[in-house]
């Protein structure tokens, strides 16, 4: 036998556990590092909305009667909203489902990491990628389709809260939906389908004045419609308000719905989030 003698170790006094905020920041840095190292994922994530903006805005470029804008300009804020949702809802929904299936989450759960640090890390990731996506789409919109940047500070403030609330609501919904796919293989279909449907009925691909009211009303239950509407309010002239379902930008209602989804999404996450997939019990 080659075993060693039993020795017992001295017990050290308890040390303080690291805090969630600081760890969350570190976690976020690590998430970004991992994200940007997967080059195909980076290209796919950022190029997708840009390609769609280019396609739609180039195909439909006529003047919109009585609104003082072109159809192309209508697509710029819409694709920005879709871009925010794709970097938050879609990418988190898929990536967390994969992390759960590959037992990355279970491994983290076995460490003393506070769960909040994990979620904060994800929030930092989507904040950075969402902002980058928005900047890229805005750059394309202003250079190719004559969208004018607002000169009014109040409009930039509107942009800031629409971005933060919309991104947060969609990120939380993405975290929630990640528990739905049974395996990592089905993750992208499970997450992409509702996102695609929402894009059709929220005025991303198809102008809101051509979507049947009942569809718009369903779309209005979810954040994307309100993100599109709010961003149109920020980047389109006042004259374009006539195209809206309610005939105005309704900033107050946009804020209310997005804030409600932030709260609802958080509750949904707290109730449904699982660190293991179903097979692991």
């Amino acid at each position: 036998m080659t075993t060693t003698a039993v020795r017992s170790r001295t017990e050290a006094p308890a040390a303080r556990l690291p805090g969630a905020w600081g760890l969350g920041l570190r976690q976020g840095a690590l998430e970004l590092k991992q994200f940007f190292r997967q080059r195909d994922q980076v290209v796919f994530t950022f190029a997708f909305p840009v390609v769609f903006l280019f396609l739609f805005a180039s195909i439909f470029s006529d003047d919109v009667e009585g609104a003082g804008i072109t159809a192309s300009q209508l697509y710029v804020p819409a694709m920005m909203a879709a871009g925010i949702m794709s970097t938050s809802f879609q990418s988190l929904g898929i990536s967390i489902a994969i992390e759960r299936d590959e037992k990355v989450l279970r491994r983290l759960r076995g460490t003393p990491m506070p769960p909040a640090a994990y979620f904060l890390g994800k929030i930092w990731l989507v904040l950075v990628t969402g902002l980058l996506e928005t900047v890229i789409l805005l750059a394309v919109g202003t250079t190719l389709y004559d969208v004018e940047l607002p000169s009014d500070a109040a409009r930039w403030f509107d942009f800031a809260w629409i971005f933060v609330l919309g991104l947060t609501a969609c990120a939380l919904l993405g975290i929630a939906i990640s528990s739905l796919p049974k395996t990592s293989k089905s993750a992208s279909s499970v997450v992409v389908l509702p996102f695609l449907v929402l894009q059709f009925i929220s005025g991303v691909y198809i102008a809101i004045d051509t979507i049947p009211d009942w569809m718009l009303n369903i779309g209005a239950l979810f954040p994307l419609k309100w993100m599109c509407q709010g961003l149109r309010g920020v980047f389109l002239p006042e004259s374009a308000q006539v195209l809206e379902q309610a005939g105005g930008w309704e900033f107050g209602r946009v804020a209310l719905v997005l804030a409600a989804w932030c709260v609802g999404g958080l509750l949904l996450c707290l109730l449904t989030f699982r660190w293991k997939n179903r097979r692991d019990g």
Partner: protein, 288 residues
Amino acid sequence: MTAHAKELAVDVRGLRKQYGDVTAVDGIDLGIRKGEVFGLLGPNGAGKSTTVEILQGNRDRDAGEVSVLGSDPAHGTRAWRSRVGIVWQDESAPAELTVGETVRHFARYYPRPRDPGEVIGLVGLEAKENSRIKALSGGQRRRLDVALGVIGDPELLLLDEPTTGFDPAARRQFWDLIRKLADEGTTILLTTHYLEEAEALAHRLAIISRGQVVAEGEPTALRQRHGTGATVEWIEPDGVPRTEHTDTPTRTVAELMRRFDGEIPGLRVGRPTLEDVYLRLTGQEDAR
């Protein structure tokens, strides 16, 4: 808590776990003392992994009392998790990060981590510190798993079949690593279905079969207690090999000496190995 229970790092009584109709763990009792290396040995499907997952706090149990470092793992706090190291059976480290980045990051989760560089050295991955995890071989990933399991300087390390898929050389290296950790005073519970691994590493071991502990004790004691009898083999003058199972091998040999009057052709007296004991206790004798 009694003074006796305080000496136990792991105290399990009457543990039961059922999956549907299948009883995976059927009333297991275990007591693992602080500072010892304890082997949980059994064939695949005997209930080893389920038991370890319950100890990790990663699986609910149906019945039984479980205390790991004085706490019920089903309600493990962050402070408790920082004292328990887990080496998982499956690889799940972030593929895009380097070994160094991952080990340093995991160190941040713990209140009193070991030095990441030292841990990377301990598992023999110095040369791979700047390699992405996706570029590591299976054995190297396993060693990274161990690094992540011990980075928090745990009092108790739970290893679930740590060397499955290792080549013999890698297995020896791994054993040295476990001995190093044991020398430092870490309590270690390891499951394995490799008998020589349990015999080489464990101070004590429990053999489980069909969800129950069928034998427990020091490896040599187990062999003596359960390995009764001996086998005497020889070759008859007409060239036919003979084998006799007996509790009195000396008498058998003495009789043979009288008969052969000199050298006994092909004489061999065998005591049962731990493997014989193991196979008999787990009902796998036919596998021989």
